[in-house]
Symmetry: C2
Subunit: 292 residues, 2 copies
């Protein structure tokens, strides 16, 4: 059991991290403006963008940094990504200064240059397509160089495509859930894109396992399985009993949408022995059951 | 003539920038803790690490960012490099937000992976050897992606090896100047390393020309000429009348010291038409005359 600081605890991924940290018996201190909904977590109301000197008093040894600017539809190229790089650097410095020694950051598959169908951690490739991806990549590269000088053991989880019950209505599964709730058609692109979908509870579990391990460096967090958006939507709609109301092809493909984003999960499997609890079917059933 | 914000105006490079901005007729506003020694500059006493909202009132259109943690002997791998990345991002955001549109940052040859003798801007190469280099590189890559979204025109001067009268006694020429002032021997390594030395007044002039231009992207700031440290020291000692008191080989070579750091100055020459005013001889004479 460890005393763990957690940022982003009220967010889509962070709430799963909080839940599973508590379940694993850790003492969890959430830093952020909003109080987390997960019970058993100590909340410290701070604006991370303004610095968080309060964390010095907590005396935490571990830090999972899952907070970021994440407004759906806007975050990809928002200037706020720069603010979060700055805030993350200050957070890491303060944490190390206060005696912390183990840190995990929620990174993203957007750090990769999307020039391949399957991504292993060793090669970041050409520059990321988005400012969000570049911000996370720049932070990764800088913190990788800084960590030993700060006395920090650092691991970096590159999260692929999480889905879950509580996702925003502008996301993929969220579109279906919201449409069903309002009784209107759910519209999607044609959906040829291949993605590595992973249930957000599995993402949370992987981040918790990662911080408990001593593994350093980047670790992809995905299922290792590529599924087309079409197949994902059709399976979700069938489980939701809403297959008659989905419209694939009703929305345009984004010109910059990569054809394939699939994780090489060798490091996730071999180094921390993690395997997702959910298949796509069981994960979708869980996610849709919450609203079904 | 422009209204120009300048950070680091009391530093080794910054004071030259301030001098030449004033000489070129610009209205210069220095942001920093210490008042610059250059006359004709408006000083705003701020701690850039704590943010500088004051800059909003200045209404500057241009910004030259030359401030950084630069303690000789320490800055290469100091955690403070992370703080300066964070401060630089906040500075850029605030400047853009306040209506600024043209920005030049003082970068470094340390951004390159030192795997070649001569460096052109297109290829950064393997990761930098130092945290300082990684910090400047990460900031460069992030700001390059962010600039268009912030409405900023951004140029980035990668400064090679500046020398001048006012350099710190722990630097190369500074060692000679200090030894001469105290009448003791001046000790150096054997000095086989090839470096691109450039008089700091030429660095200042290049940065001023760069911000006046519309050129975007990285531009090496060097002489384009490789000189061995031995040749530099011997020429400087001869000019200083101190050749009998230098000891080459009295200090060990640093194991991680690269064999050659020379700028490809094609972009500096072709894009902004800049040529250094000083040769090595005239530059050393100027630098040593100040204390001679």
């Amino acid at each position: 059991m460890a005393r763990v600081l957690l940022t982003g605890a009220s967010g889509f991924v962070g709430r799963e991290v909080a839940t599973q940290l508590v379940a694993a018996g850790h003492e969890v201190h959430a830093l952020g403006r909003r109080a987390p909904t997960v019970s058993g977590v100590v909340h410290h109301a701070v604006d991370l963008l303004a610095g968080a000197p309060e964390l010095r008093q907590v005396g935490a040894t571990h830090l999972i940094h899952a907070a970021w600017y994440a407004e759906p539809g806007k975050f990809w190229n928002a200037p706020e990504n720069c603010d979060w790089v700055a805030a993350s650097l200050r957070l890491a410095r303060t944490f190390a200064d206060a005696g912390g020694h183990r840190m995990v950051v929620a990174g993203s598959c957007a750090e990769y240059g999307w020039d391949r169908p399957v991504f292993s951690e060793e090669t970041l490739g050409p520059p990321p397509q988005t400012l969000y991806g570049q911000a996370k990549r720049s932070l990764f590269e800088l913190m990788t160089a800084a960590a030993p000088l700060l006395g920090l053991s650092l691991a970096w989880g590159r999260i692929f495509i999480p889905y879950g019950a509580h996702e925003d209505a502008r996301r993929l599964l969220g579109t279906l859930i919201a449409a069903r709730a309002e009784g209107r058609p759910a519209e999607f692109s044609t959906g040829e894109q291949i993605r590595d979908f992973i249930h957000v509870a599995d993402v949370g579990a992987a981040l918790v396992r990662l911080i408990e391990s001593g593994v350093a460096g980047p670790v992809n967090i995905g299922s290792g399985v590529g599924t087309s958006v079409q197949a994902f939507v059709e399976e979700a709609a069938t489980i939701a009993g809403y297959a008659h109301r989905i419209k694939l092809g009703a929305r345009p493909m984004r010109a910059d949408d990569p054809a394939s984003l699939v994780a090489d999960v060798t490091r996730l499997t071999d180094l921390i022995g993690f395997r997702p609890r959910h298949t796509l079917s069981s994960g979708l059933a869980e996610a849709l059951g919450h609203d079904g």
